[in-house]
């Protein structure tokens, strides 16, 4: 062998113990990102669905500017296919922290003809137009999202500061080099930047952080009894988006949700986890990624997420 190898076993108490706690490092990185955006942009906004990732995002924003209030409004793109528990949670959080909330209702776009309901009744893909219209209308120049690189293959390639052209589109081949912790937020009029402070977090990190910081979540993340029916291997719940079709039997099951999305395509998983600790144990043992288990919209094609991102999706 030509080169010597350096793989000495590392004894406890050697330099490795000085490594910064992983969650503390991720928190500091996210706070740094929030402050960069506050310093460089005129009209930032936080996408807030009431889901766990956007709730963690808001928690980090509050910590980044404490004791001052968060200097950005929230934006919720409302499909109309909501879980009541999530909307109640959203409004309570907004009230508690004195935040400003902008709601873009997909229904309004359908009502005035700018969008047409899909034959399958799913509204997740319909969110892109209201999102881009609202960004344009309010002149938002930085849009925080809770996306993480571990979620999906196309997300794994996205920058923390991700430039969108005047049509709101992501152009993967034109991504800017992103070096050290120097973020380049420059953009031309009409363009905006999507910002992902949770880029380097895994699903497991998010749950551990929620436990450590005692972040409150909507109740649907924890096991509860619900009437559900099986479609494409997922437990869907009844709602205004349409119920079970012929041959789809309704069962009462103990379930919880791993993500919060459009009710028509967000499935529940059977679970008895009623506490954060039990959820973490379940996530650790899980053999399915959260999107694969519960999101029909990502199963459509091999490049489902990439195609939606190019169009300007979250």
């Amino acid at each position: 062998m030509t080169a010597e190898h350096t793989a000495e076993p590392v004894a406890p108490g050697s330099g490795q113990d000085a490594a910064i706690d992983n969650l503390a490092a991720l928190e500091s990185e996210a706070i740094h990102i929030f402050r960069e955006v506050a310093g460089e942009f005129d009209r930032p906004v936080i996408l807030f669905s009431g889901g766990k990732d956007s709730t963690v995002l808001l928690h980090l924003a509050i910590k980044a500017f404490w004791p001052a209030p968060v200097p950005f409004p929230l934006l919720h793109v409302d499909t109309g296919h909501n879980f009541d528990e999530v909307i109640e949670f959203r409004d309570r959080v907004v009230e508690k922290y004195g935040l400003r909330l902008v709601v873009a209702k997909v229904q309004d776009w359908i009502d005035d003809g700018r969008l047409t309901e899909r034959p399958d009744g799913t509204r997740n893909p319909l969110q892109t137009t209201p999102l881009l219209d609202t960004i344009g209308e309010h002149g938002f120049d930085a849009v925080f999202g809770g996306g993480r690189r571990d979620e999906e293959r196309a997300r794994a390639k996205e920058r923390i500061f991700s430039l969108r052209n005047a049509f709101g589109q992501w152009e993967p081949r034109r991504q800017r080099a992103e070096l050290w912790n120097l973020y380049n937020g420059r953009h031309r009029p009409g363009e905006h930047v999507r910002v992902f402070p949770l880029s380097n977090w895994t699903e497991f990190d998010v749950w551990n952080y929620i436990a450590r910081e005692k972040v409150e979540l909507p109740s649907i993340y924890f096991a509860h009894q619900r009437d559900v029916y099986l479609r494409d291997g997922m437990w869907l719940t009844e709602g205004p988006w349409g119920g079970p079709r012929d041959g789809e039997d309704v069962h009462t099951r103990t379930v919880r949700y791993r993500t919060v999305g459009d009710g028509s395509c967000t499935g529940a998983v059977e679970s008895t986890a009623t506490t954060i600790e039990e959820v973490i144990a379940e996530v650790q043992a899980s053999r399915l990624t959260e999107r694969g288990a519960t999101r029909a919209d990502d199963r459509m094609s091999e490049a489902a997420m990439e195609d939606r991102k190019r169009e300007g999706y979250f």
């Binding site: 793989a7 910590k63 420059r186 899980s286």
Partner: protein, 437 residues
């Protein structure tokens, strides 16, 4: 508490990087059932008998269509020993800028070569970029060793050529390890292979799990780039004024004497605030809010530094740059320069030299720097900057060059000189302090 290793992979096209990364994810059980199902389905569609593990990481449609990696993909996996953040970077020449992106924060880089082709131009270029960025440790993975019948002498020739190159770039021989692997077959990736009895070193994952990670030096001088001034002006905090930022280097405690640059104002730290409560001490990497004794005029872009060892603000910078843009850099160009939390105008006074990473020599006074070129430049800035030398403080010694027209990032900049061939006689930073933040 498990430790974290940030690593980057680099290599030429078709060396099998994506397959190696797919193999690491697969063998560390970081691939979940539905991800593997999707890859198996796609592999069958392509007429393959076994799952093509590179499909786990080649995320973009055009990448899968062309079978190449275009952009940096970030991957997260963990073993009981360690958590890993892996930046999988592209091999095509026109995407070397993404290699720079992926490697800028890496503590170790894995360079791949194809055992049938050996060390290529691109291998030498990548090694030069890694040396410039101060990535402290290199691994050469001699891949596809199965395709040369696990031949020891083939491996030895490649390992020696690469090690000699890395040493000439400034790497101590002990920080360069060569491993014969087959990403496709799994030889020496997670466990040592019986097919290479002549190789006595560790398998790749074994090395990644045990290689020491150099912590930031505790005695480095304190640096805090001010990102944002926190002034609540609420009933509870009518007069609060705090300077928020992420500590770039060193530690700070209440009572410390500091200087605010570039103004040169001196003050004393009266508190270190976080939303979780005040701290008695905070170190490198922490996002904090610092309170000072005096009511000073401090804004975003200023630097708070320890009074005893503050950098001298200057509007003349000598720096190494890695050019990332298709349009060339010429002397006389007007650009924007982002350093810390400050963006200023800058003028390129002179392109002093270009580093020829193939011949390991400097080409003096080139007309321009083109895509992927590394060169030494002199810049004049519209305001004095409190910059450190990159080798002593990467976070406050690095900057971006930005196109004032469209805002694109044109270059990665490192204050000071990074190459022995570029004139100052010093080796590239390999002392473990570089680029670990």
């Amino acid at each position: 508490m498990s430790s974290l290793l940030r690593l980057a992979t680099a290599g030429s096209v078709d060396d099998g990087k994506s397959t190696l990364v797919g193999r690491l994810l697969y063998d560390t059980k970081s691939v979940l059932a539905d991800q593997l199902d999707a890859v198996t389905r796609a592999s069958v569609d392509r007429g393959l008998d076994t799952p093509d593990l590179s499909l786990l990481v080649d995320g973009l449609r055009s990448e899968r269509e062309q079978g190449i990696t275009i952009d940096v993909a970030y991957r997260y996996f963990a073993t009981p020993q360690r958590s890993f953040v892996l930046a999988d970077t592209p091999g095509h020449v026109q995407y070397t800028r993404n290699t720079v992106t992926g490697a800028s924060t890496a503590q170790l880089a894995v360079l791949l070569v194809d055992a049938r082709n050996g060390v290529l131009e691109q291998t030498r270029r990548h090694a030069a970029v890694l040396a410039m960025l101060g990535v402290p440790r290199l691994v050469l993975a001699v891949n596809k060793i199965d395709l040369v019948d696990y031949d020891e002498s083939t491996f030895e020739v490649i390992a020696k050529e690469f090690t000699d190159h890395a040493v000439s770039l400034g790497y101590p021989v002990g920080e360069v390890l060569s491993i014969p692997i087959s990403a496709l077959q799994g030889d020496n990736v997670v466990t040592r292979s019986e097919n290479t009895p002549w190789y006595t070193g560790p398998a790749l994952l074994e090395h990644l799990e045990t290689v020491p990670v150099a912590p930031d030096p505790h005695d480095a001088p304190f640096r805090l780039p001010v990102q944002y001034v926190i002034r609540p002006r609420t009933a509870d905090y009518p007069d609060y004024r705090g300077y928020a930022g992420q500590i770039a280097s060193g530690t700070v405690r209440p009572g410390d004497e500091v200087v605010v640059l570039p103004q040169g104002l001196r003050s004393t730290v009266t508190g270190i605030d976080t939303a979780d409560g005040p701290l008695g001490e905070a170190g490198s990497g922490n996002s904090v809010t610092v309170l000072l004794d005096d009511d000073l005029d401090i804004a975003r872009g200023d630097l708070i530094a320890s009074a005893g060892s503050a950098p001298e603000p200057t509007d003349e910078l000598s720096a190494t740059v890695c050019w990332l843009a298709n349009s060339a850099l010429r002397a006389g160009s007007r650009v924007l320069l982002k350093h810390g939390a400050k963006t200023v105008q800058a003028f390129v006074e002179e392109i002093v030299a270009r580093f020829d990473e193939q011949q390991l020599r400097a080409v003096q006074a080139p007309e321009s720097l083109e895509l992927n070129h590394i060169g030494q430049v002199r810049l004049r800035t519209s305001e004095p900057l409190p910059a450190d030398d990159y080798r002593t403080s990467p976070r406050t010694g690095s900057f971006l060059i930005i196109d004032p027209k469209d805002g694109d990032t044109l270059a990665a900049g490192l204050v000071g000189v990074g190459f022995p061939a570029l004139g100052d006689g010093q080796a590239a930073s390999t002392d473990g302090q570089g680029a670990t933040g």
